[in-house]
Amino acid sequence: MTQLPATPSKKKLGLVIDLDICVGCHACVTSCKGWNTENYGAPLSDMDAYGADPSGTFLNRIHSFEVQPAEGPSQTIHFPKSCLHCEDAPCVTVCPTGASYKRAEDGIVLVNEDACIGCGLCAWACPYGARELDQAAGVMKKCTLCVDRIYNQNLPEEDRLPACVRTCPAGARHFGDLGDPDSDVSRLVAEREGMDLMPELGTKPVNKYLPPKPKDRPAAEPLSPIADLQATGLAGWLDRLLEKL
């Protein structure tokens, strides 16, 4: 049913992404594509993969932004983006077939691919570009929060995480229950002033982003010497000798 759950679920599973830590390596993009191509639903297809104009379906993409403060040098911020599993998900209510739904038990937004007609309206309704119509299967694909991993009793416990979180080599991605104020992720959000993307659109995203921390020292000027080396001992004697020549 494309009606949102009448009472919002207490459990709100989601991701917390630390923009201070993400190094933009795209490992989460690759692991996401790998897991979700082999598991839940239609594979994430690529079109013209080895040709002149390749494109493909991805559930997670990393944008890199440059932010210029009023004073001082700019900062580069790598910005992973996937479904935010919004509480007031506009992608769910627009669906004409009931394929798009939000789970009452844990708040995950999913697509029942057998009921999807591929009209694309949910992708239009999403402000975040979290949904992509697979060009081979003709059905809408989106982040499932690795619903086939997090409850999977056949996996070792440490693997019962979304593939992106499990893979992140920098530890920039966290998974947990954002509906529970005492969970690790909720505390992290409280400590670091976790934020919503495009709050003005009223979607109430569950996923939160932790803003980059303020720099504790000004960045070096471009092309300034990185260290002032004073050679001592034999090297120092050679240095002085060579200068005199």
Partner: protein, 291 residues
Amino acid sequence: MHPAPSVIVFTVLSGLGLGFLAYLGLGFLRPSGVYAFLIYGLAYGFAVAGLLASTLHLGNPQRALRAFTQWRTSWLSREAWTSVATLLVMAPAALLAIFAGFPSATFGFPGALLALATVFCTSMIYAQLKTVPRWNHWTTPALFLLFALTGGAILSAQAGLAAALCVLLGLLLIFSYRLGDGRFAERGSTMETATGLGRIGKVRLYEPPHTGTNYLMREMIHLVARKHSARLRVISVLFAAVLPAVTLLILPLSVATVALALAFHLIGAFAARWLFFAEAEHVVGLYYGAR
């Protein structure tokens, strides 16, 4: 937004056909016999051709019947219901006109109401989207309904009424173009709010997620249009509103006059609808440093 031909053809033709059905249902035109067969055939032809065109952009059209299930929340589902209901309710009216030779208010009035409700539902599919600020406004349903009513009036050979509606349509088009240009800024979404990085400073895209394109960019970021938009706006107002009104008022009313006015109107309607999509900017473009 990508101006997909199937969606442009769908909205223009189904709007025209449904508008015409509304006038037939209300008895503005009271054809009978073979003439009624042709007239209703024309109205049904436009409406059905448009609705069929709408299935062309579906990824899995064989499941289209499922679109009838979610009328509680989805305007697309409501449109499915009202369009089928219109075609079914107007059918007895058409049959009575063809075989019995008299108009039927019993089926015609509800049919007319359903026809306009269908156009309204179609427009709300676009108008409901907060993500596309230009569409998310009362002018969207107003434009769709006025296009249907104007096209229907031209086809029903109501010269005076059609000319009056043309004037309204022209004014509304100009108003919506003017207003639409500022809607994105009014909504307040920027690269800063999209990334939450506005608290640090001004944001620009340093590197996109991939070197190629993707579904989102093809579907929602359309850049070619804006060069020609000024010219197309003039063309749309001229052809959709001014020329049909002048044609109907100056030339003696005949099938040829109506056909000429309709041809002008359709050219303008296609131009306006193309602009409706091509000029609409989706907020997701902000993540790609584009609009």
